[in-house]
């Protein structure tokens, strides 16, 4: 037998073996050699992930930073960390949390837990205007303006805890955002309602609607269930949440009690109707609409039963399906959003919106899409990414149990390292999903990097999804602790991002160097212009309450100046044409050098001035 012929026969045999192993119901556990043989046969999907010196990434990746409280910008496919945006955290490098401008937004809270970063939309794709991110720890939502890549609003949300899933309206544009509350709590959760503290049956979940432009709460839909992950549809009609604690449990065993939990859909037209009708209570200054079963006067909510403790909900880029990942169930639940219309009209039951419930693997958490009809689901316990075809899953569901057992929908299974949480493909949360790259945000890196001590990085793995098979190409360590990301085409973001501030957008922008004194209140107005500050010395008296306002007058791209006040615990950076201010009490007499911390010039070290604090 010739070698060629032998190989052909071998592949045939392996194919049969592979099919057989699937047919035995072992799920997706095909022998490795089978996958390998198939991969050799169809060497598709060979995107280059190398970004050579001087070249630019094709995508902006916006990563949440978990309990670091920040957002990071990662270049995809190079996976280089390009920038960090401090959000809910203090950043002593840039001065976020030190300057008056940032303190005004943070209002004394310097810990945060960011999970989901999403961009603002126009007609189902990103418009490059804003990013939004949740803070699960202090129950806030921040907005980042993309032109400066800087937080411009932080909203405290009352009546909730565990601010988890967040999603912006996708169509026709982002006017609303939804923010889910994962932890049920008494409403209101204060001394006026102390009798509810020990009665978990009087704890409630909340689906909060936020006005994106005003960054204000529009209303909250109060539920018995908790509200975990979030999604919005592509028609501007619905938002959604998964709910894993329909039991109102306060212990793990209680939360796991029921066999079914819910995907809860919210009807926006009916929310507006309830608001117009005034069917809400004001709690902590916010309109709270009762959406509980039996109290939902306007029929806002639709509860679609899904197997025990579901996790993510993601919408296919064609807008047709909501895919709810099973977590405790090894399946995904596919909901046809066109049928949801009928369910709201009362023509069918909520459970009849489900068109498929395919087997995926042990612990499906989140699903993303390649824009070619395929879904890729992160599977936590198996530690895999599973690529499957939505239509094939729907067809098999129609054909019945026997057809389903063969798992005809599964296209490929990729081992990842290790224990994946979120998963995201390029442009996958838009109608322009392009099926090129996927990032598997793995919770555990274990042995994948040099040992840096007991606290180890995450591992964000890059996967080429351009071919039929999933191809793992890169391991990327990440510090505490990205949960989710979006991967946005460069041409959408790049034209929106500025090199310098509009100087007079800041009302205190300094054009003239001077010191003003009123009693013990001193205002220092100063410019920075590498390598000189506009003032060489300022005389103060012990006890003066000092505000220093600094404007960077350098126009040159990337010429930022720092401003550190020795022994006064103050540092911040002003980018070209930016103004920042700090306020402090001159409580220590002596000479204190103010110096530039951000390398600016050949004479950077000479860029300094004195504060002379007289006793």
């Amino acid at each position: 037998m010739s070698r060629k012929k032998f190989n052909k026969q071998r592949r045939k045999l392996l194919k049969i073996l592979g099919a057989a192993s699937v047919a035995t119901g072992a799920g997706v556990m095909m022998p490795k050699e089978v996958l390998l043989a198939r991969a050799e046969k169809k060497p598709k999907g060979k995107l280059s992930y190398e970004v050579k010196p001087g070249e630019l990434d094709e995508y902006y990746g916006f990563w949440s930073g978990g309990h670091s409280g920040e957002i990071r910008i990662i270049g995809v496919p190079s996976m280089r960390e390009i920038h960090r945006i401090p959000v809910f955290n203090m950043d002593v490098g840039s001065g976020w949390g030190i300057t008056n401008e940032s303190k005004k937004l943070l209002r004394g809270k310097y810990a945060g837990d960011t999970h989901h970063v999403h961009g603002s939309y126009v007609n189902g794709t990103y418009d490059g205007k804003w990013l939004f991110v949740n803070d699960k720890l202090n129950n806030r939502v921040a907005r980042i303006r993309i032109d400066y890549m800087e937080v411009d609003a932080i909203l405290d949300i009352p009546n909730i805890q565990g601010a988890h899933g967040l999603f912006p309206q996708r169509y026709p544009r982002t006017e609303w955002l939804v923010q889910n509350a994962e932890f049920q709590i008494p409403v209101p959760n204060n001394e006026s309602n102390a009798k509810a503290f020990n009665e978990p049956q009087k704890y409630y979940g909340m689906h909060t609607i936020i006005d994106a432009e005003r960054m204000a709460v529009v209303c909250q839909i109060m539920l018995d269930e908790n509200c975990d992950l979030a999604a919005t549809d592509y028609k501007g009609k619905y938002s959604m949440c998964t709910s894993y604690n329909t039991e109102k449990g306060v212990t793990i065993s209680e939360m796991l009690a029921a066999d079914h939990d819910y995907l809860i859909v919210f009807n926006w037209e009916r929310i507006r109707k309830a608001l117009r009708a005034g069917d809400y209570k004001i709690v902590n200054g916010v309109k709270v609409i009762d959406g509980r079963k039996g109290h939902d006067k306007h029929g806002i909510t639709l509860r679609i039963p899904v197997p025990k403790n579901p996790h993510g909900v993601n919408i296919s880029p064609d807008g047709r399906y909501a895919v709810c990942s099973g977590k405790v169930s090894p399946t995904c639940t596919v909901v046809d959003l066109e049928l949801v219309d009928k369910a709201y009209a009362g023509k069918i039951k909520p459970e009849e919106c489900i068109v498929a419930q395919p087997y995926i693997g042990l612990g499906p958490l989140h699903t993303t899409f390649d824009g070619r009809g395929n879904a890729i689901t992160s599977v936590f316990i198996d530690s895999t990414n599973v690529k499957w075809n939505i239509q094939k899953a729907i067809e098999a569901e129609k054909q019945g149990e026997e057809a389903k057992k063969k798992n005809p929908h599964i296209i490929d299974v990729l081992d990842i390292h290790y224990q994946v949480g979120h998963i995201m493909a390029s442009m996958a949360e838009t109608k322009e999903a392009d099926g090129k790259w996927l990032v598997s945000l793995n919770k555990v890196s274990k042995d994948r990097f040099i040992n840096v001590g007991p606290l180890k990085p995450e591992n964000d793995q890059l996967v080429d999804i351009s071919g039929e098979k999933l191809r793992l190409v890169h391991d990327g360590p990440a510090y505490i602790e990205p949960h989710d990301c979006i991967i946005v085409r460069r041409d959408i973001i790049e034209p929106k991002v500025k090199h310098r501030y509009d100087m007079f957008e800041h009302p205190l922008a300094v054009t003239e160097n001077k010191v003003e004194r009123k009693g013990n209140k001193v205002i220092i107005r100063m410019t920075a212009n590498a390598p000189v500050y506009g003032l060489q010395e300022v005389k103060l008296k012990k006890g003066d309450r000092v505000t220093l306002i600094l404007t960077n007058h350098d126009e040159i791209i990337d010429l930022s100046n720092g401003c550190a006040i020795s022994n006064y615990n103050i540092n911040f950076v002003v980018a070209p044409f930016q103004t920042k201010s700090v306020t402090f009490t001159a409580d220590k007499p002596g000479v204190f050098w103010v110096y530039c911390t951000n390398f600016c010039h050949a004479l950077h070290l000479e860029m300094r001035m004195r504060l002379i604090v007289e006793p």
Binding site: G54, E55, L56, D491, P495, H499, T511, E512, N513, T527, N529, A530, P531, V532, G534, H553, D554, E555, I556, I557, D558, L559, C600, H601, A602, L603
Partner: protein, 359 residues
């Protein structure tokens, strides 16, 4: 070598913000002058924008201040370098004296004496000759201060040629060419076709030309005017072309420059000062340099059959004085190293938008 390192962190000065003059004095230098400093004469007669110099009753030359003729030419500092220039009736420069400058040359280890040394070489040069930095004019005395040298050269020659024309001793005003309108028509063209049509010009620098022991092409550079859709759209693709055109303000134009090879037309020293010191364009007596705010990086050419590039970008000419439909020179002052020694060599290529892309 030290100079190279320092050059990287060279910085441009504040251009327009008010209230800073006092802190910038350490870069400013003003010198006293008298007209006799650049022309030996016993009598000077004031004319419109220049002085005639006489010895006895014989006209021996002309003296003029650059700010009266080429004030728009500004150096690294964003300020004009005021220069007193003497010229004899044959077009030979009789003397050059620096009156004011604020070029931050101290940052690259240079002193004003080096600057004055650079200027000395102009004495005896005839302005009818084709002179450029790297071509008859040496930068040795102020190595590293490329922008200062290029602009200073343009100031001296530009002012002198204008005065020579005004005084009637030579004609330098080029035959007046009519500005034309750029055709809005779009034809899909490949890279090869664009090069053949001369819509894209090419400068090839071979290692042998530079004395580098290395075979092959050191720098393979392509440039052109972006505005005609048949050039710009083919080169950049529709989206980037439209974005670029939309962003242009009245009177501005855009060129593109791409290169491959070991060498670089961008270099690594533009970053802190924000000025590209390895290339500029000139049109008649005007010189246009580019700053980082005029630049958008491009990593891929969209035209069919285009080569892969190592570096490149869109560069906006901000000045209304540049007329994109008329011929201009692209000047490359290539910095390179032979062993550890830094060298410069100038190259230049003339460009004109092909007629078929004009109305």
């Amino acid at each position: 070598m030290k100079r190279i390192a320092v050059l990287i962190i060279l910085v441009a000065l504040l251009l327009s913000a008010p209230g800073y003059g006092s802190q910038w004095k350490f870069f400013e230098h003003r010198y006293k002058y008298k007209l006799g400093d650049v022309l030996e004469a016993d009598k000077f007669v004031k004319k419109d924008g220049y002085w005639e110099g006489y010895r006895g009753n014989k006209l021996v030359g002309y003296v003029f201040l650059s700010k009266d003729w080429t004030k728009k030419l500004v150096g690294y500092s964003g300020k004009h370098m005021e220069t007193l220039i003497g010229l004899d009736p044959n077009g030979v420069i009789t003397g050059v004296k620096l009156i004011f400058h604020s070029e931050p040359i101290v940052l690259i280890g240079l002193k004003d004496e080096n600057y004055l040394e650079f200027l000395k070489q102009y004495r005896g040069k005839n302005i009818k000759e084709d002179l450029a930095v790297g071509k008859g004019i040496s930068m040795d005395a102020i190595t590293g201060a490329t922008v200062t040298a290029v602009v200073q050269n343009a100031i001296i020659l530009g002012s002198a040629r204008k005065v020579a024309t005004a005084a009637g001793i030579a004609r330098f005003a080029r035959a007046k060419m009519e500005k034309k309108k750029i055709s809005r028509k779009y034809t899909p063209l490949t890279w090869r076709e664009l090069v053949d049509l001369k819509a894209i010009r090419n400068i090839v620098v071979r290692s042998e030309q530079l004395g580098i022991k290395d075979k092959g092409v050191y720098l393979d550079l392509y440039f052109g005017v972006l505005t005609p859709p048949s050039i710009g759209r083919n080169v950049l693709g529709d989206k980037l072309y439209n974005d670029t055109m939309k962003a242009l303000k009245k009177g501005e134009s855009a060129i593109f420059v791409f290169a491959r090879g070991k060498g670089s037309f961008i270099g690594s020293g533009f970053a802190r000062g924000g000025i590209f010191d390895r290339f500029h364009i000139s049109q008649n007596d005007k010189t246009f340099v580019f700053r980082d705010i005029d630049y958008r990086k491009i990593t891929r050419i969209r035209a069919k059959g285009a080569p892969e590039i190592k570096e490149g970008g869109i560069f906006i000419v901000r000045s209304e004085d540049f007329e994109q439909t008329l011929p201009f020179e692209f000047n490359l002052i290539l910095t390179y190293r032979v062993g550890s020694k830094k060298e410069f060599k100038s190259f230049s290529s003339r460009y004109k938008i092909p007629e078929r892309f004009l109305e």
